[in-house]
């Protein structure tokens, strides 16, 4: 057993002969956050990767134990900040399930539209950042052009661009912005016209293809064993879309496809996400003209008390299965809360995927895992 500070001080004694231990992170442009990987190399070949986490650990689970069921939702926006709306939704669903609160149809539809917009925004940021990690700078601006439209829609309706906090148990905090439908339609039109640009710029780029095809392969058995979910598992052929398996809100009433690939390499993970954006657009198109009238929030008590027992809900974030497990003693605060974050499980597969490959390929493998560090550290 050795500690982190020792590694930082002296790495030369730790590796066996011919091996080199390097620290990637905690400040590294390709980790997009404070992820610290201790990489053992032999020449350029990766022997072992050890993640050292906790640089952004805020002990959200402990914090939630002293927050009420109305308050704890807002902390979860700070976990996976790119899917904050979907995190909020998972927590709200748990409270609604535990207390059997009726949610109006209007709120359900709006929640789903915003979830899909969040998913597109997250994948857009990932696409730009991932291409930048691999040396292509331009896609970042293309992706952010469309993402900016989504953040503006979010700003109008939710009041925030990143940490939406728009969902309350029972519905939504306030009604839609009057321009919402117009702006979403403008976004859908723009996205459909511009998505071919990504294909020309990135997908069909021979350099991008040769850097991602066959890199970081994860088999279906390993994906299940490591608990991988989301696009990472779906690129390996594991069907795991919570929206399809355990439909929540109105996902059972809209038609969309679960995108599956079988290659399991970085390029497959890239393709799954690009195709998923198109599926999200398809869902939004079905719902945007059919937002029912009525209340946007159901009737709830002022003080929420979950009955004694254990509750679990899961939702599909942009990164995979997000689960909330609450043990309630019948009071106003949870006795124990556990967030099953998709990034944590996906990260645990990184060592397995990268061992034996070259260090240059680590960027592609790590980039397509789409790690968000606050989600992992919590």
């Amino acid at each position: 057993m050795y500690n982190q500070t020792e590694i930082l001080k002296d790495t030369s004694e730790l590796g066996a002969e011919g091996e080199l231990v390097i620290n990637m992170g905690p400040q590294h442009p390709a980790t997009h956050g404070v992820l610290h990987l201790v990489v053992t190399l032999n020449g350029e070949t990766i022997k072992k990767i050890e993640p050292h986490l906790g640089y952004i650990h805020r002990s959200i689970e402990k914090m939630c134990e002293s927050l009420t069921y109305r308050q704890f939702i807002y902390v979860t926006s700070r976990m996976d900040y790119l899917s904050s709306h979907i995190n909020n939704l998972g927590c709200a669903l748990l409270v609604e399930k535990g207390m059997q609160i009726e949610v109006p149809d209007r709120a359900k539809v709006i929640r789903v539209i915003l979830s899909e917009l969040t998913r597109i925004a997250s994948h857009e940021l990932w696409l730009g950042a991932m291409a930048m990690d691999l040396g292509a700078f331009t896609p970042f601006f293309y992706a952010f052009r469309e993402r900016e439209m989504i953040t503006e829609i979010m700003e109008d309706t939710c009041g925030a661009r990143l940490t939406m906090n728009y969902i309350v148990p029972g519905g939504l905090m306030y009604d839609l912005h009057p321009d919402f439908q117009k702006k979403v339609k403008a976004f859908v039109k723009q996205f459909k016209a511009k998505v071919t640009e990504y294909e020309d710029l990135v997908t069909n780029n021979i350099i991008f293809q040769s850097r991602t095809k066959g890199v970081g392969i994860l088999s279906a058995e390993d994906a299940i064993s490591f608990g991988c979910t989301g696009p990472v598992a779906r690129a390996s052929g594991v069907s795991c879309d919570i929206r399809k398996i355990y439909p929540y809100e109105v996902y059972d009433k809209v038609s969309f496809n679960e995108i599956l690939d079988t290659a399991g390499d970085s390029f497959a993970r890239y393709m799954v996400r690009v195709k998923e954006m198109n599926e999200s657009i398809h869902i939004i198109e079905q719902l945007i003209d059919n937002i029912p009238d009525g209340d946007f929030v159901g009737k709830t008590k002022n003080v929420l008390k979950l009955p004694k027992g254990e509750f679990y809900t899961r939702v599909e974030t942009a990164r995979g299965e997000f689960g909330v497990f609450v043990v309630s003693e019948g009071g106003t605060t949870p006795h124990r809360i556990k967030f099953r974050s998709p990034g944590f499980s996906n990260l645990s597969a990184l060592n397995h995927m990268a061992v034996g490959s070259k260090i240059g390929d680590l960027m592609a493998t790590m980039g397509t895992l789409d790690l968000v560090i606050p989600d992992i550290d919590r």
């Binding site: 982190q4 402990k62 927050l67 795991c240 899961r314 689960g323 124990r336």
Partner: protein, 151 residues
């Protein structure tokens, strides 16, 4: 696809001393900590094929700690919850790393947050907290003089 009663019957044939709790959403199986490993091995490799461990955590119920394992299967999509109690003074339980590889990180997290020792774990070190951190933050009697969250 097996019915609830068939599953219960099957589990009793592997581990005769377990008890069941059906009040929640899923079937809860309360097993003895020493029996956990053979039971889990049978659930993974036997005819139920629970290949997906989607949540592993621990709950401090003040008198003892309860390990909670959420299992599911990618083929028939049935979920179940396995629980095992460990003592608060010397918590230890067999690792499940060799059955589900996701357990390695999840158990390291439980180790640093609750102090549960996972026997035969390949690399039981702190994952998130600093190496010289004192105490186990998610235990109910944990007191931090500087950053304690109290409302």
């Amino acid at each position: 696809m097996m019915t609830q009663d068939e599953i219960k019957e099957y589990i009793l044939s592997i581990a005769p001393t377990v008890s069941f709790d059906e009040t929640g959403e899923w079937l809860n199986i309360i097993a003895d900590a020493t029996q956990l490993k053979p039971l889990m091995t049978a659930l993974r490799t036997g005819k139920i094929q629970m290949d997906y461990l989607f949540c592993l955590t621990c709950v401090d119920v003040k008198t003892h700690l309860t390990m909670v394992y959420h299992l599911s299967a990618t083929t028939h999509r049935q979920s179940m919850v396995i629980k095992a109690n460990v003592s608060r003074e010397q918590p230890s339980i067999e690792t499940l790393c060799d059955i589900w590889r996701t357990a390695e990180f999840l158990e390291r997290e439980v180790f640093e947050m609750f102090g549960v020792i996972f026997l035969n774990h390949p690399d039981l070190r702190r994952l998130i907290l600093e190496d010289d951190f004192k105490g186990f933050p998610l235990l109910k009697d944990f007191e931090d003089p500087i950053n304690m969250i109290k409302l």
